[in-house]
Amino acid sequence: MKLAQKSSFRDPCGFLLRHEDILYREILSKGAPDYQRLMTSRLYNSLVESEMLVAHSEIAPPFDVSPDHFKTIKPYEIDFISYPYEWSFSQLRDAALLTLKITTTSLDHGMILKDASAYNVQFHHGKPIFIDTLSFTHYKEGAIWPAYRQFCQHFLAPLALMSKCDVRLSGLLSNNIDGIPLDLASTLLPFKTLLDFSLFLHIHMHARSQRKYADKNDLPDIKKNNVSNKSLRGLLDSLETAINKLNWKPIGTEWSDYYLDTNYSETALAEKRKAVQLFIDKCHAEQIWDLGANTGMFSLVAAQTGANVISFDIDPGAVEKHYLHAREKGIRNVLPLLQDLNNPSTNIGWALQERNSLIKRGPADICLVLALIHHLAISNNVPLIEVARFLQQIAKMIIIEFVPKEDSQVKRLLATREDIFPNYTQKCFEEAFSQCFKIVARQQLNESNRSIYLMEAIQ
């Protein structure tokens, strides 16, 4: 059955749809001239060859097409769709630079990006890639860049806030689906950013101009295009300079030094790694989610099987370190993402259908839940059965580590609070999880009081 995807419903030139679980893009007659120009101008080839744009093939549609149908294409499908509010600082920065690079390359071929939504960028093989084939339009000399405002809201404002105020402000992106309003960014940014020419111009003055013209009827003649090609390139260069100047270093964040502060002996850690490896090998997974991945020690173990690994962590510092490490080493099948499991990404956007929740993007073949259960059950007071029910929704198999109360990490959590968890025992853990999972294997780790389980979700 043909099912239109709500992520692309705004575009009059075409839309994404799913048919028999395969993703297609229908191009409508309105989008035909720009699509043909993209394909004949060699821009498409140039961008695909440099892995900046997702490749596609033109196909005969296996479904009934729309009345004003022009062509159907089958884009290469990205393994896991992630959203800007789940990216670390450098991920959003790389996505911004890619968008600018694509715009400049498009100008060389007589085209331009008509939108600069961060949702048009995804991470594939460890690098950002542009996924919207219909974002390209014909560039007429003298025209302005129609995506300037969107670029500032989706990229520059959140990056500036993350860099100059607090990295956790990227969370504002989930409340503002069309990027952070510039007047809000201007209010939140510290006074010293007025002395930064790029931010002064593209955020503070830009916001001021938006306010000035928001309710004005006597507008200047905005239909008269008068921005030269050189000026446009200047604008893109100025935005690139602004993005390049922003930086953030993860120092002293919550978890990013966690591996230096665990109670594992070297033997126990090696044994844990071996057990995880063994359990993963038993399952033949294509997609593995590592929950509470930290800087990705066990994500790398999972990645060695060739599976696509999505590594979630609550700490922006850990995700940033993980991403930078993966980028430096050229690891192509690990994607670190920010995710608070106590409040995971939900469905957002128009009719709550534009961006999918974490649960909707699952289930994963395997979920690694290592050294995490005590944080969910004790720090966040979630009953063990609720943890099991949640995991059952997002995974077909889980590899889960039970951390008992005798463990120093749990003792630390209980040191400053009353122990209201009489049911936090290995026996109760097994009983609770047995309601949602079948326990396939269990291994007690030597030199540690922790155990690792392989469990299969009961359908």
């Binding site: 405002r149 830009h206 938006q210 013209y213 928001a214 309710d215 905005i222 921005v227 000026s231």
Partner: protein, 90 residues
């Protein structure tokens, strides 16, 4: 001898130019400049939600020529640096 008009209550009185007075003048000037800038720059709360697009459009047209000019200078400057670097290599 040069004299300065004083600001505030004693503006009709003529007084000697002293360093402290000059500093006061400077401070006043910067405070006024700061307030003017802040008023100009910080957006009031905001009707921008009505249509932020128009303001962006107009703003881009206004800044494009300035930025374009700076970009031209930057490009020339880069070419000059390149030229001299080449010369050194040769």
């Amino acid at each position: 001898m040069r004299t300065f008009h004083c600001w505030g209550k004693n503006k009709n009185r003529l007084c000697r130019p002293r360093k402290a007075k000059r500093d006061n003048f400077k401070t006043c000037f910067f405070v006024i400049l700061f307030v003017a800038l802040a008023t100009l720059i910080f957006p009031e709360r905001s009707e921008a939600y009505l249509d932020p697009g128009t303001g962006s459009f107009v703003f881009q047209m206004i800044i494009a020529s300035i930025i374009g000019g700076l970009y031209t200078i930057k490009t020339y400057w880069r070419n000059i640096i390149k030229f001299f670097k080449k010369d050194k290599k040769e």
